[in-house]
Amino acid sequence: MSNNASSFIAKSTIKSADLEHRRKINFNIGKYNATVPLGKQQFTDVMTARERAKNAKWRAIEHLDSYLEEFEKQITSRGAKVLWAETADDALNEIAKICDEKNCRTVVKSKSMVTEEIHLNDFLEKKGIESVETDLGEYIQQLDDEPPYHIVTPAMHKSKEDVAKLFADKLNVPGGLSPEELTLVARQKLREKYIQAEIGVTGANFIIADIGAVAVTENEGNARLSCAWPKTHIVIVGIEKMIPGMQDLALFWPLLSTYGTGQKVTVYNTIIAGPRQPGETDGPEEMYVILLDNGRTNLLSNPKTREALYCIRCGACLNACPVYKNIGGHSYETTYSGPIGSVITPHLKNIGEYKHLSYASSLCGNCTEVCAVKINLHELLLDNRHEAVLQGYSSLSERLAWKAWKTASLNRGMMNLGNGNMKNWVVNKVFKAWTQHHGALDFSKKTFNEMWKEKHATK
């Protein structure tokens, strides 16, 4: 078993038994479950909307090479610089160069999973640059020195009381503040940082090929401020965020909002097509877009897993996943948690080290049921399992067990061998994990097969 797998089992064991964690998550996801149906009402036919979104993403991913070049051509013509990063290190090195050039001491950044993926905050901190999260949830997580718990709602596992206590501990404010008061505290602290920051960093929810722009979805206005106030704006975005055209946003914005939070559309949606243009009064002087691969082309090159790149990171599969709800986002120890994380992480990183995530699913299929762009998530988990076996990552004992299973399953006589007592002894000893919290299995003295034969022989 890999170290990652052992650590996953240890962490998930603790969280599964943590009833206070269970209570908070069920409460917060309960609120999500109550609002999503209201958001869905804006679609006359939500199933068709999801299928159309899947088709648009199919087109974007099948022609990703030409769309990326089209994007580059368009946005470059308005003065933005496009940088291609094959790995996380490539992206970090480009950011370091820009920071050095600008003598940057402070970075304000909006919520972005891709910056989590490349560990941008750690990297900047080591360079002596303060990197400040400006999304309230991410700000809370940064104060608590924790990675985001969820790809959409980073502090989902914290109650309002937890946050009030955290602010009192870290920010020298009175304890027991209300959510409104806490928000005002954060707002005040963050405004100072915006004024200091030389560079604003954002992710992007969509790359728009035809007009050469990125689109950012948010609720707090912090992303718009991050890209508009500092003199330099850096966008870091995974290449799979592509959509063919601006018109597609009419579908993707409401879809992402509804599946992400139950909103019809989020409070702020911004299309950014370059730095400040001649004659314009607002916006950054310079804009960089870093297009990140970092393993995404592994998913692209495999026709089966390719559809995982359609993901718009709405988080619906996390909220729907009974495993996620029991073990929480941190047990995965990956940037992307929940079903989509278990599907893509083995390909982004390493199958041997992360295949356990594909097995850590009861295959209930609820992720596939709720996916905004209809990715067959639970079938992709099965494909990952198959891929792991094909690549030789199964253990010898597993291989022998399945060989024996096959032999028995091809030979009815073998399945009738031995009596129930003997099977009870063997199975309840072999599967000790089962009998830890289950009553012992009780094999029938005779199989149905034997009983049927006896009954019909005497007729």
């Binding site: 009974p322 495993v323 850590a360 009861s362 076996v389 299973w405 096959k406 399953s409 289950h438 299995l441």
Partner: protein
């Protein structure tokens, strides 16, 4: 109607009474029930473990064992869902493509077959008490069955059916998942049982013995006052 029954491997080994109850109900509903004594398993366990090669050999045997059947009926949505939805992938682009497709169309979960093929939803069963029904993921999402088992249960004399909270949430079985990731599986069972117990039901009924093996085992260990019953057991109860 000629029905060839498929008895899943774990029902064959652990719960033969459930299989006999299904036979009893099908015969009462007028079916001519046959059982191919060569049958073993649908192949799903190895497939789900990633061992598709091993699974395919067993699936090929299943195809042979049931190729000629007019209808195949099984007391398990899990196995039926696998035959219907995954055999096509395994035998894609092969010479048996059409056979596989046709077999999928002739293979039914027990309650689906009763309600939608036989159009029988009352066999005169009786069971006194309060029951809650657990939607197995395979019945709900692989076979799209929601109303069929409830329709059958609503006609059981003496039985009061109450719905539990989060009824569509997985019970946590998931095959080898329950052994490999036992603590997660148990946490899921715990919530399922808490929801079932909150209804004050005496019986927890489902289409799938795999869920019930897991939940029943957990109940036995935890000591809740709840008895698991397969739908076939309920429908075979109270008449001879």
């Amino acid at each position: 109607m000629n029905v060839s029954i498929f008895i899943p491997c774990f029902i064959d080994q652990l719960y033969p009474a459930v299989a006999f109850d299904m036979v009893k109900v099908l015969e009462k509903a007028g079916c001519n029930v046959s059982y191919n004594t060569n049958q073993t398993c649908c192949g799903q366990p190895a497939f789900n473990a990633g061992f598709q090669g091993e699974a395919k050999d067993v699936c090929t045997k299943f195809l042979k064992d049931f190729g000629d059947a007019e209808y195949v009926v099984a007391p398990s949505a899990s196995c039926v869902g696998f035959v219907r939805n995954y055999y096509g992938q395994l035998f894609d682009n092969s010479s048996v493509h059409n056979e596989v497709k046709s077999l999928g169309e002739r293979t039914f979960e027990f309650s689906d077959f009763m309600v939608n093929v036989l159009q029988v939803d009352n066999v005169g069963a009786r069971l006194n008490g309060k029951a809650t029904y657990h939607d197995s993921c395979a019945a709900l999402r692989e076979c799209k069955l929601k109303k069929e088992p409830r329709q059958l249960l609503s006609n059981v004399q003496g039985l009061e059916l109450v719905e539990m909270n989060d009824v569509e949430t997985c019970c946590g079985f998931g095959g080898t998942f329950a052994v490999k990731f036992e603590p997660i599986s148990i946490a899921m069972a715990d919530q399922k049982i808490n929801n079932a117990v909150s209804t004050d039901a005496q019986y927890l009924i489902s289409t799938d013995m795999s869920c019930l093996m897991h939940l029943g085992g957990y109940i036995k260990n935890k000591g809740a006052n709840l008895r698991v019953m397969h739908l076939a057991e309920v429908l075979a109860n109270g008449w001879e």
